[in-house]
Amino acid sequence: MSQVFDIDFGEHRKSKIVGIDLGTTNSLVAYMDHTGPKVIPGADGELLVPSIVSYTDGQFVVGNAARTLLIEQPERTVYSVKRLMGRGVGDIKEEIGLFPFRLASDSEQVIKLQLGEKTLTPPEISAQVLAELKRNAEEALGTPITQAVITVPAYFNDAQRQATKDAGRLAGLEVLRLVNEPTAASLAYGLDKRQNGVVAVYDLGGGTFDISILRLHDGIFEVLATNGDTHLGGDDIDNRLLRIALEDIQSEWGEDLSKNGEAVQLLRRAVIHAKEQLSYVPFVHIQFEYGARQYHRQITRELFESLITDIVDRTLGPCRQCIADSGVSIDDIDEVVMVGGSTRIPMVRRAVEVLFKAKPHTELNPDEVVALGAAVQAGILSGDVEDKLLLDVTPLSLGIEIMGGVVNKIIHRNSTIPASATETFTTAVDGQRNVLIHVLQGERELVKDCRSLARFDLKDIDPMPAGAPRIEVRFLIDANGILSVTARDARTGKEQTVEVKPSYGLTDEQVEAMILESIEKAEDDFAQRQVREARVEADNILAATEKARASDAWLELTEEERQKASDAVNQLLLAYHAEDHHLIRAKIDELNEATMTLAENMMNTAVRAALKGTKIDA
């Protein structure tokens, strides 16, 4: 009867690529099916996974579950870690004052945060969020997920992008592409609403602001210009409301709560709730209870708007610059698409409407649209979406240090990526073997005003008189917005060794070491799970044996059989607390064997009882 079918699973076996929006406040994972992009919910049914990570009882907890821990165990829990990605300790003085980040004592070149007894870098923490999204997707799609498109703020610099890519690798994901968030949003939008024209995307999220202007042309999404601020978002509004509430409380209660982690998180939650309500109602009450004391304050939308005017205004400068750089006039912009939770604030919408002289589009869910766009990009990479193509730009100019601490720009901002530039270098001293190239990102003229990206050391140059060597260095910004550098001797054509010393973030070796460590950890986790499973099994058989000992079947055994069974129970109880699932299982098997007759007797009793028509507990 059996027949061999030759089924082609090719289409189904092709591994799925997911799209991930790794946000400051919330993260989402989406994928593309034949009907279009879809957001994948977590185990709790929620689409938004809060980007909160807690390390408790030797385990990581992520998302909504970690939200509670933020209040119960604030010293083990962290949020808004995206603000620290790719940054140095010197950069984050401002953040440290506003966020409960606990810097580990050995934070020098790389920021490290303390979560309870654990010390972690921002990419490692973000990796936990990514791993959670990966699990959600695997659960929902029923297949292992190893490849992803991850979105980043358009205005992220090289180090911030690299850090995001590192986080992906640490989470066991091959990051096929980093896509700029506003560009991703435009993909989802263009899929839905518009085929041709000029579109501006205004993206104000939890911690970052981006503005991009794109030309849509028969499936080509060409970014004309982008601008932004990687430290501007809803967090800033929350912090402002929080500070006011803390000051109020100090004067009313005579108590400074700002050092009390639990109280601050509860209060923060209350002001965020108030802020969100204010987008829909003209006034709200901030309600806060702590230690049997109450704080209560009414805030009108009017007052709220006066408090955040400067924050909203800070988005307008980048918008104007972006319009100027795009080469289109405001009147040429057909539509403005609003992205990010903070664009629900009516004042933000008004400001955008006034500047762009167009009513902003708000019909797409601003929380989901970036993840949906990332899924479309995943579809483009897998070949499932054939007619769409994104042409993105680099947000910041790339330059090299020249004499006098001046930056010579070699790739200008808003250049379509991949983009490249070739420069020729030579030596200054006879016999010089190395040339150091300092690469920077930024728009200013002086080295001290730009952001140091890396130092590239051209090594093993043939010794020659000064000025004779000609080393051709090629700078390439790839489609992810990440720089790579290659060099060759222009006379011989020989590849030249380039040693990279990143100014911020992790070296490749450090990431590799972390991945190795996480694999070891994964093995530990696996072993622990097996121990837990073995214990559950032991619990079951111990409970069953206990029950049998109280029955008639136990009395039918010989003294020797009873002794054997009791010994086996004791042996298992002894093994139970050892961290060795092999041992536990061995003892379970022994107990099984020792209680074989007992089980048979039980069965017979049950059969007899059944024949008699009496009910018994099996």
Binding site: L176, L381, P418, D478
Partner: protein
């Protein structure tokens, strides 16, 4: 492969930018790394190089001045950055006046600022005339390509670069203090 070759066009100075854009979009669909995501690493790297070259080409050739500079470079005639000392003879008198006004403005003379603004406008007009001249020369080169014409174009480009620097200098002086004007 040079910028003209990757876009599949002749080495010309007058180009139809709309046509160029269409060609750019069409070739982007072919070369963009997104199209090679599931291909072997070597093919991906090659696509990246090609796509970068295409983008560099489009960015350079769509702008008439960058296009001229690029072609001059291809033909071995680099445009040299003009220093303020090497004054083209025909501008000697005007540059002298300008320097006087700059000096006075730096001393805090408000009248000189007005004078500077007038001179800036004058130089901007000169620059416009040069741009028209370059357009004319570009058409002549395309009709009969040759080294003498390129030499002539290079001379005009140098003059333009000199005037651009003058305008920048004046604008820096006129801008409210502490603010940098973008180059």
């Amino acid at each position: 492969m040079d910028y003209f070759e990757i876009l599949g066009i002749d080495r010309r100075l007058s180009l139809d930018v709309d046509f160029l854009q269409k060609r750019f979009y069409q070739l982007s669909r072919e070369y963009h790394p997104d199209r090679f995501a599931s291909k072997p690493a070597a093919e991906r790297a090659q696509a990246e190089q090609k796509s970068a070259l295409l983008n560099d080409a489009w960015r350079t050739l769509r702008d008439p001045l960058q296009r001229i500079e690029y072609l001059l470079k291809l033909e071995g005639l680099d445009v040299v950055e003009q220093r303020t000392k090497d004054v083209p003879p025909e501008l000697l008198e005007e540059v002298f006046e300008l320097n006087m006004a700059l000096e006075e403005a730096r001393m805090g003379d408000e009248d000189a600022r007005g004078e500077l603004a007038g001179m800036r406008d004058h130089f901007l007009q000169l620059r416009q005339a040069i741009d028209a001249e370059l357009q004319q020369l570009s058409a002549e080169y395309d009709a009969a390509p040759g080294s003498p014409k390129l030499q002539q174009i290079r001379g005009v480009m140098n003059r333009r670069s000199y005037i651009r620097n003058l305008v920048n200098e004046v604008e820096k002086e006129l801008a409210p203090s502490g603010q940098n004007t973008p180059a």
